[in-house]
């Protein structure tokens, strides 16, 4: 059964909000003008940040990858403590379920949008050709993000959230 993307966005709305929050936060940190912002809406896309274009790769990288970092870290911080009582000790506490939903919601919205991924890939290619150290170091991440976006049809981005929120702690807390 294929669940429409907008339904997933509604079910994981905290992740959408955190994603746009992170975008805007990195725009502010890098002095990029934010022209318009929507943290959540019932539509496609569920949220967006319209910002000015930048020619600086570091800025483009941080603005695009910022949500990936923030959402992933928050997902891990929220899911890991909630995982132990539920899965290790079998204690079915409502708080654990709430935290896991929150954490996985945030993790499922970690990946940059297709537009951001394409933009970042375009910038990275240019920056790598000019031998920028950050671009060279981050290129594998950029390529991975680009590939995941290509595979987003198969919901690989959502699987990533489930993977780091539930899969990773299950590997650690056996």
């Amino acid at each position: 059964m294929i669940i429409p993307g907008f339904l997933i966005s509604i079910a994981t709305f905290p992740g959408v909000i955190v994603h746009e929050f992170a975008h805007m936060l990195f725009c502010k940190l890098r002095g990029v003008a934010v022209l318009d912002v929507c943290f959540f809406r019932f539509g496609n896309p569920a949220g967006y940040v319209v910002h000015e274009e930048t020619s600086d790769f570091t800025t483009a990288f941080l603005v695009s990858v910022g949500p990936f970092l923030i959402n992933s870290l928050l997902c891990i911080f929220i899911c890991f403590p909630a995982f132990i009582p539920l899965k290790v000790f079998g204690l079915k506490q409502p708080l654990s379920y709430a935290l896991l939903w929150l954490g996985v919601s945030i993790g499922m919205n970690a990946f940059p949008s297709t537009q951001d991924a394409r933009g970042l890939f375009h910038y990275a290619k240019k920056a790598v050709s000019s031998l920028s150290p950050l671009a060279i170091l981050s290129f594998p991440i950029v390529v991975a993000i680009y590939i995941v976006n290509i595979l987003s049809f198969f919901r690989v981005d959502y699987l990533y959230g489930i993977g780091i929120g539930l899969g990773l702690p299950s590997l650690i807390f056996r």
Partner: protein, 302 residues
């Protein structure tokens, strides 16, 4: 503010109130009239931007064009605002709430993490220091008292410590709490038999001791300690009945255990106790045996 003339009606208007289509500058009224008669015009329509008026706040810079930001004329105030756009209050409150919630949840769940760590350490210590391992497991249980799994594991660890301390009654009570609650790999059934044998020995119920030892030898036929226990039980029976049949059964079981032991030093000590029992028909507890023969017992010396 730049003003232009509508090419259709000739009115002079601010440039941002006009549109350019087919190279003609049109006011809104003329555009409306044209789109109702010429369908093609609509697709080519676009608004004209006035480079002297701020695209965000409408600030009029007179005749001087404003700097451009994202292809829009922008005054300094708007530029500063957009470059450091404030988060809406509800976002600030929500994010602060989220962080507080996450921190509180982490603090609340810390005891589970510590209990998990104690459990891990307890299993690591199992082969080295069972006393410490049981302490760690008890610590885990006290951190998460609502976990039945931890209670079971703690009882299991306590049971092993009691067995090591030669307190079979307490060990049996602990192992019975774990029965059917742990996987077979924990060997709870075997440990229950070991503890039961100890309880029977302490109660001088040697018939019961033989029954348990026989069951043990059936369940663990590859373990030399099973046959050593059987030898011990028959030796007890011999000691209290003087029936040589029990002595022969004890010797046979002991021989089998010796063959299987492969020189295990703990077996050597156990063997001495059984041989002493068969020779003297005196049943000594392990503690008493060690007290009397701190350097071991040899048959020839008696």
């Amino acid at each position: 503010m730049i003003k232009v003339k509508c090419t259709q009606c000739g009115r002079t208007l601010p440039v941002k109130e006009t549109s350019k289509t087919d190279d003609r500058i049109l006011c809104a009224d003329c555009y409306e009239k044209l789109t109702s008669t010429q369908e093609t015009v609509a697709s080519e329509f676009r608004y004209l931007a006035d480079p002297t008026v701020c695209g965000r706040c409408g600030f009029d810079n007179g005749s001087s064009p404003l700097p451009s930001l994202a292809n829009l004329p922008m005054c300094q105030r708007s530029t500063d605002y957009l470059r450091n756009r404030p988060f809406p209050s509800w976002i600030k409150i929500s994010f602060a709430g989220l962080i507080i919630f996450v921190v509180l949840a982490a603090v609340w769940n810390m005891r589970f993490f510590l209990a998990w760590r104690d459990t891990k350490v307890a299993f690591q210590l199992m082969g080295q220091d069972m006393g410490q391992a049981a302490d760690r497991m008890r610590g885990a249980r006290s951190r998460v008292p609502e976990s039945s799994d931890l209670q079971t594991l703690s009882s299991f660890f306590d049971g092993i410590v009691y067995l090591q301390q030669d307190r079979p009654k307490e060990a049996l009570a602990s192992f019975r709490e774990c029965k059917h609650k742990l996987p077979d790999t924990f060997g709870v059934d075997i440990l229950i038999l070991r503890a039961s044998a100890g309880v029977a020995f302490d109660a001088k119920d040697y018939d019961g001791f033989v029954v348990v030892a026989k069951e043990m030898s059936v369940k663990k036929p590859d373990d030399h300690s099973s046959f050593a226990m059987l030898a011990s039980a028959y030796a007890c029976k011999y000691a209290v009945t003087s029936d040589m049949a029990f002595c022969e059964q004890a010797m046979a079981a002991l021989e089998r255990a010796r063959t299987m032991s492969g020189g295990d030093p703990s077996f050597r000590e156990y063997e001495q106790r059984i041989l002493h029992r068969l020779n003297t028909r005196e049943i000594l507890s392990p503690k008493e045996f060690h007290r009397r023969f701190p350097n071991g017992w040899q048959q020839e010396k008696e």
